[in-house]
Amino acid sequence: MTHLPNVMTVPVSQGLRPRCSEATCRVVSNTLVNGEYRLLTLDAPEQILDCQPGQFFQLLCPEPQGEHPFLRRPMSIYGYDKVAGRLEFLYKVTGAGTRGLATLEAGDAFNVLGPLGQGFSMPDDWQHLMLVARGVGLATLAPLARMAQEKGRKMTAICSARRPELAMSVDLFKSFGAEVIVVHDQDGSSTPEALRTLIEDRIETSQVDAFYTCGSSRLLRLLQSLGASHGIPGEIAMEQQMACGLGMCQACVRSFRVGDQIIQRRVCREGPVFPISEAM
């Protein structure tokens, strides 16, 4: 019998609630990037542009030929600019919803709901940040890197990919002042063992204050172990199947280890960003 531990969800304190809205945007462009990903740029109304890095939107995807993505699809914010009225998503086409997104053309109207969830935090004592991610996970970290630059933090971004030329957003991270290290599967530099060596090296040479990562459970386990042994905190943006995206339906729960308790939290509401130490 598969079932989850019989314990309660953490209450959401009122203060955590950002306001969000359903808004119709205009598609500026929707272009292929890097062979595997697409960048969707929207002309968005001001009211939805008070975003935090790590937050996400729920996108009402158009129906591609013969398919019916009924529920909205969650997508992290890749870029936002309140002054220019711009909102960007970087996505990988995997199923009906993202195939629908791929049909969007400049000028199309497009309905989004957000910003949703809790973004990354960046306490003052986190001065040297290490960003580690792979694939589309790097999209989620892009606005974080921009925020880090604005706050004058030092950054090392480890971008993992199947092949070196598939590594996402390398130039973007560089433009935000990050030192970028590309690791990949072809030369074995992306294995957990190689990464562990690489990161421990860094921790020794230049003090690392915090980790940020996304999605992959292999990276999570690696950073949990490194964080525990070196006393380095960090945050992870997580994913889960969603329906409402607002906290109402409880579809998107995941389990977290807090002290010696296993608790459930909603990825859409308490997350998608959680302490690396508590994620499972």
Partner: protein, 316 residues
């Protein structure tokens, strides 16, 4: 928020459910609504607030994935994660006391005793009515629930009736083969209204993985796909009983609301549509009012149950 419903157009949108009067017939369906929606619009525009079903103890709910989507709807097997009765009393009730709209509390349990006890426990100041979820298809394996049969329905409603003086609504399941008999049993046992209906038990398979798309294998189907079934049950039940019927199932447009009212519903609940568009309930209130103005209809009484249908008895 702009464009919220205003009601000063000389039409009376109010809906009567037994002793209660709601300012309009639009309310959320249990499990698709929470305090979180207050981020999106002013929840006091709604006719009533209906909370996610609570159970007595704390419980985690079902394994993930808990939802998947379908051509015109979705499946859910959330289960009933519950923080228990104390959390409800100490945290939720005070929060909802901050709103003017009447509060409807949905409850459930796995036994008659537990159910009856819970009805007593939630009969608190600030609660306008109790909705008895006697129909959740995830509650018992393979979708069995109290509301599958008239006898268990009669028994559970009788037990609940004995424990509370609050208006008591019974929420029926469309999975039963005897919806009218179940409705009559709930009425005879003292229910003040019926909610028709809950989700239909369904399934979806990931053909690549050859695995069910839901962690719980089967789940409740909701959304536009089930509307014709919920509407049929609403019509059948409203004809059979004298207590009010609240329609629920797949409603997402003004015309859907009108279909249920014409079929005999006194009010409606909106579930899955809120996931597609969180402001849909506010929009439906405005659109319903505009429709009444346009058609010179002053009161919902002119609409509710106004269907003209031949007696069906054609056996061909």
């Amino acid at each position: 928020m702009k464009d919220l419903p205003a009601f000063e157009h000389g039409v009376d949108l109010s809906a009567r459910i037994g002793a209660l009067t709601f300012k309009n017939p639009i309310m959320p369906a249990s499990g698709t609504f929470s305090e979180d929606l207050a981020d999106v619009f002013d929840l006091d525009v709604l006719g009533a607030h209906v909370l996610k079903t609570i159970m007595h103890g704390t419980r985690a709910g079902n394994p993930t994935p808990r939802v998947c989507d379908l051509q015109s709807g979705m499946l859910n097997a959330i289960g009933i994660p519950s923080k228990g009765i104390e959390y409800f009393r100490d945290e939720m009730l005070p929060f909802w006391a901050g709103f003017k709209a009447p509060l409807v509390v949905s409850i459930s349990a796995h036994s008659f005793d537990e159910f009856a006890r819970l009805a007593g426990e939630v009969s608190l100041a600030g609660v306008a009515a109790i909705e008895a979820n006697i129909s959740c298809p995830n509650i018992e394996a393979d979708g069995n629930a109290f509301a599958m049969r008239p006898d268990t329905t009669h028994e559970v409603v009788t037990r609940l009736r004995a424990e509370t003086d609050l208006p008591l609504w019974a929420k029926l399941t469309p999975n039963t083969g005897e919806p009218v008999e179940v409705a009559l049993a709930a009425e005879a046992a003292g229910a003040d209204a019926l909610v028709v209906a809950n989700t239909l038990l369904g399934m979806s398979i990931d053909i690549g993985k050859r695995r069910p798309r839901l962690g719980n294998v089967m789940g409740g189907m909701s959304g536009p796909a089930i509307k014709p079934i919920a509407l049929r049950m609403t019509y059948q039940c409203a004809k059979a009983v004298t207590i009010p019927v609240i329609g629920c199932g797949g409603i997402s447009t003004r015309d859907d609301v009108l279909e249920f009212l014409i079929a005999g519903a006194s009010a409606v609940q909106i579930g899955t549509a809120t996931f597609q568009s969180p402001t849909v309930m506010a929009r439906l209130i405005t659109e319903l009012r505009d429709w009444m103005v346009e058609h010179s209809i002053n009161s919902l009484d002119e609409v509710i149950g106004s269907i003209s249908a031949p007696e069906i008895g054609v056996i061909e």
